[in-house]
Assembly symmetry: C2
């Protein structure tokens, strides 16, 4: 069985109106069979965060919702808490402070169990802080701004559900180009992934098409905003010598801004092509013209069309358009 899908949500997912992303999460987790664990550790709030998501997920038809709320690394070693993840079909990590979440969960039995659940096919979703922690390298905190500057942000270790990556959230709304560019300039083996609010990057493993081939990780976009991918594989940078908080040279970063419905192959780092949209009016017109031209071709083949007849026929055909 391939690993479960990851849902990397950029924060502020719609909870009141269309609820596209939350609906999608419950459906992926099994709909009426969904057993969902909410991990609200990042949040500064208490049980009320769980209450909100509990109500939301049950409203979308989930069978059961449990809270997994460690408040210390000790808690995250509690076998009873870890066991409760044993039969869930979906895990949802809330927003808040990702450094609090990672400091409590990463490298503990509970953290390991979240990774194990992903491996055995469980859906793992997270919004804002819960999105950040999914990458191998995590934005700990940092300032806004479009231009990358040498010390504008800090990196900590994430859960590593998505390898070789660094995820940022509230990307459009909080002007986070600069800090993500700073990180990929300093670590060009990482892929930078910026997720807008009310938008999800859904990562699924697509098994190899041929025996002996490689599995691919494919990212698909759902929601109101976009997912921005920064590929620094061919970067030229001075990040190793830029001083203090000066702007960093980051030349040759390839950018992919992906709105809803687009897909990106994370393994080959290329856009997945999708069928062009067909305009129905144009299609009808072309079909009609095609019919006329086929008739014309038949007439020519039957040698009943001398140049004068042909000219007259074309003029007639144009006049009726």
């Amino acid at each position: 069985m391939p690993p479960g899908p990851l849902m990397i949500i950029g924060g502020a997912e719609d909870k009141l109106r269309r609820r596209t992303i939350l609906k999608d999460f419950v459906a992926r987790s099994g709909g009426p069979e969904a057993r969902i664990a909410v991990v609200p550790t990042a949040s500064s709030l208490g049980p009320e965060v769980v209450e909100v998501y509990d109500a939301l997920f049950r409203r979308e038809g989930a069978a059961d919702v449990v809270a997994i709320r460690p408040q210390s690394r000790d808690d995250a070693h509690d076998p009873d808490l870890v066991t409760r993840l044993g039969d869930v079909t979906g895990i949802f990590m809330t927003g808040g402070n990702q450094l609090k979440l990672s400091a409590i969960v990463c490298g503990t039995p509970l953290g390991d169990e979240i990774v194990a659940a992903h491996t055995r096919g469980v859906v793992v979703a997270g919004t804002s802080a819960g999105a950040s922690i999914q990458s191998s390298h995590m934005v700990a905190f940092g300032g806004p701004g479009s231009t990358p500057k040498q010390r504008m942000t800090q990196v900590a270790a994430g859960l590593g559900l998505l390898e070789s990556s660094v995820i940022d959230q509230h990307f459009d709304q909080r002007n986070r180009y600069g800090r993500l560019l700073m990180i990929v300039s300093q670590s060009p083996q990482l892929l930078g992934i910026g997720v807008d609010e009310d938008t999800a990057a859904i990562v699924e493993t697509v098994p190899a098409a041929l025996p002996g081939g490689d599995d691919h990780e494919v990212l698909r976009v759902l929601g109101r905003g976009a997912v921005t991918i920064m590929d620094p594989a061919r970067i030229t940078t001075n990040a190793f010598e830029a001083k203090r908080s000066t702007a960093i040279l980051a030349s040759g970063v390839v950018l992919h801004v992906l709105p809803e419905g687009s897909s990106f192959d994370l393994t080959t780092r290329t856009l997945v092509p999708h069928a062009a949209t067909v305009d129905p009016t144009e299609a009808a017109e072309m079909a009609e013209a095609g019919q006329d031209l086929r008739q014309l071709a038949r007439d020519i083949a039957a040698a009943d069309a001398d140049p004068t007849t042909l000219k007259r026929r074309l003029a007639r055909s144009r006049a009726t358009k």
Copy 2:
């Protein structure tokens, strides 16, 4: 004679402290021989804008400063005003509303004279609105945000001092990635150039190295922020069919973030390599080690170093480090 340099300033250039960019402008314009025209048409303010720049440029040693302040297209047809540009060595267009500036100046004898002055070697500088108007395609106005959306900005025609380009300013500070990405997605033959505040993109024509070769336009960065280049030559986009204000697909845009001191060849669209920085401590250590090793090589060549001697010598050398 090659065309004069363009100075494309991202707004809010330092006027009080180091004044790096304004100093550079006066020096390029001839220093004590500089005769500078200030064009404050974009500004909503009156003569006080001219007074500020007049004082600043004279303080840096300029010989003369004149105001060229058309307030209508009629003014911009006034031969007396146009004639006053005849003997200037530098032109400075202030900030304000670039659509006001372009609506009054572009396609008039005054606008044509600014272009002609550039062609005959005069320095043309502009900040904020005065930067925008230098490109062939000009951002008229638009909203902030990192993610490109279908109708977030408007394009108008600029002076075209820099061909095949669209310039945006206050780039870092006002979060303008989205609108510049929208424009280059819709017009992939343009190069997007985003200039931060207190930062100048200085474009100079470098004559061909060999007879029969092409001149190159090279952009160099001066100031506190960075210049961001978006090269959409290989873009995949849905900009021709994205609806209303949805996020736009913009996959494969190559990004170059350029801090002070870096140069970019606009003709080849590549970074100009520059010499690596040498750390003096490391250089001294390597020089010393190199001396030791050359002595060792001489000893070996003289065959006075049997394996035991060699070992002892290496141990001694390490011990003295």
